[in-house]
Subunit: 307 residues, 2 copies
């Protein structure tokens, strides 16, 4: 039996497109409606045949929907909710997938009718690709969905439970968390890694050709650099929004990273081999923990070497 | 027909163990001898049955060898060559696999008999795992081998050609490069990425538990962090040596990275969304170049999502 009668997904890129496919494949929703503000994306979703309804406005897509998931870029979600608002029925669950929760929760609360239940959420899953073609139904399997409830009222908590059931049906594990804490945790596990990856790829690309050419960077990237380029190939608009909307937590964690990097740089300059070896031994254990937690492949090179 | 009659590999970890397996599987050497200064590793190599001879001294392993490849940690190579020197025959090719070339070239030249040909080399290949069990025969296929000739004398260049033929037989593409230039290129494509990965994993592990717990870091690592942990799980001793032996180039490139990071941090603080989006769009193109150059899988998430 489906978790909700009608699901509407607003914004149909990698994440929205994966939700739509997963909801249908796993029977989590009786009917799936989609709206994307790009006419090209709407046309492509119609071609792909992955939704029951591809509407030409947000308000039309959300009409009669029990659950509406906004999967637009983080800074565009408030406006998208405003656009959809006239169509939202009383009691509808209004949720999202944004990588930042405090700022988006505020924007959604402001834009959504008081008769709806706003439950901000974030699936910790994705790839470096974008657009409706990049989505796939198994993206959320064995990944975490963090929901950030804004009230502990009984009717509201019922909405949170329905949202949790929906994500469970998609294969996710669900965790409830305070929005501000989410933003700090994700600054560590996601935002800082992306910032660093974008930066190192930028540094390598900007070297004077007389030092190291871009061709050399690409050719010899198997030594480690190529791993960073995957993350630095993520959606530019989404990540611009993440850094601007989670500015404080990102700059705070970046400050600690920079302090540590200065200490590491000093150890290299001074030739403190014992300190280097101690750090490098400690970091090795973290990966084992992630593999043990089922969040990573144990295969060397992420399994790239598989034939 | 094999490229050399007898190959000796000194140090049998991930890289040495892969060379030994590849040389036999591809018939690149008539006979393969191994020495490792760890008795446990020697015993394990005997058990694995991957070499024709497992010698109990370096000098014994290299006796009559046409090609000797030192695959010990970078700072241990000079001493390993010194140990092997009494056994090296006149005309033998003495090479290595170290990730730093200038310092190792100097150490090898100093330790090797004048009657041998010292040809420093570096295969741009590896995984985050260590030890003889981690090696596999296909590791070098379609990867680059950089050799750094120290002379242009005809007899010497003949030795360089034999070494190139050997690596070609293992499936590698060979490039000749000045040792100092190698060290700068690799500082960009390999050493800085490792330094940054070690640092970010260390920063995350050292956060106060009241902020973000280590359990949370592991649980939500699929947002980007887990990619960094792969590199930060690389061999601690080898990487200690790399940073100490290539100190100048690493600190130079780290300086540029830090400058760029400060500018990026300022853009976030000031809310300069256009600058962020421009950088993030530019970095996306670099990955396409690496995939086009055949040095990376085009599959999303490195193919982790394959079922």
């Amino acid at each position: 039996m489906s978790v909700v009668e009608k699901l509407a997904v607003i914004g149909c890129g990698l994440i929205g497109g994966s939700i739509v496919r997963a909801a249908r494949e796993k029977g989590a929703a009786g009917q799936v409606a989609v709206y994307d503000r790009s006419p090209e994306v709407r046309a492509r979703v119609r071609e792909l045949g992955i939704a029951d309804i591809v509407a030409d406005s947000a308000a039309e897509a959300v009409a009669d929907a029990d659950l509406v998931i906004f999967a637009a870029p983080p800074a565009a979600i408030g406006e998208a909710v405003r656009e959809a608002a006239p169509g939202l029925k009383a009691g509808a669950i209004v949720s999202d997938v944004g990588s930042v929760k405090s700022a988006i929760a505020t924007a959604m609360k402001k834009a959504a009718p008081k008769t709806t239940f706003v439950v901000p959420a974030h699936p910790i899953a994705g790839t470096e690709q974008s657009g409706p073609d990049a989505g796939f139904a198994s993206l959320f399997e064995n990944r975490w969905l963090i929901a950030c409830p804004l009230s502990d009222d009984a009717a509201y908590m019922q909405a949170v439970e329905t949202l949790s059931d929906f994500w469970h049906a998609l294969g996710s594990n669900v965790e409830l968390m305070d929005a501000r804490h989410h933003d700090l945790v994700l600054a560590v596990t996601s935002h800082l890694p992306h910032l660093i990856a974008y930066n190192i790829v930028g540094t390598a690309a900007d070297l004077e050709e007389s030092d190291v050419t871009e061709g050399e960077v690409m050719k010899y990237s198997a030594g480690g650099f190529r791993d960073f380029t995957r993350i630095a190939a993520s959606d530019p608009v989404m990540w611009r929004d993440v850094f601007l909307l989670n500015k404080d937590a990102v700059l705070e964690i970046l400050g600690r990273f920079t302090e540590d990097l200065q200490a590491l740089s000093r150890s290299i300059r001074r030739g403190e081999g014992d300190k280097l070896e101690a750090l490098f031994t400690r970091t090795r254990a973290i990966r084992r923990g992630i593999i043990a937690a089922g969040q990573e492949s144990a295969e060397p090179n992420f399994g790239r070497n598989r034939k």
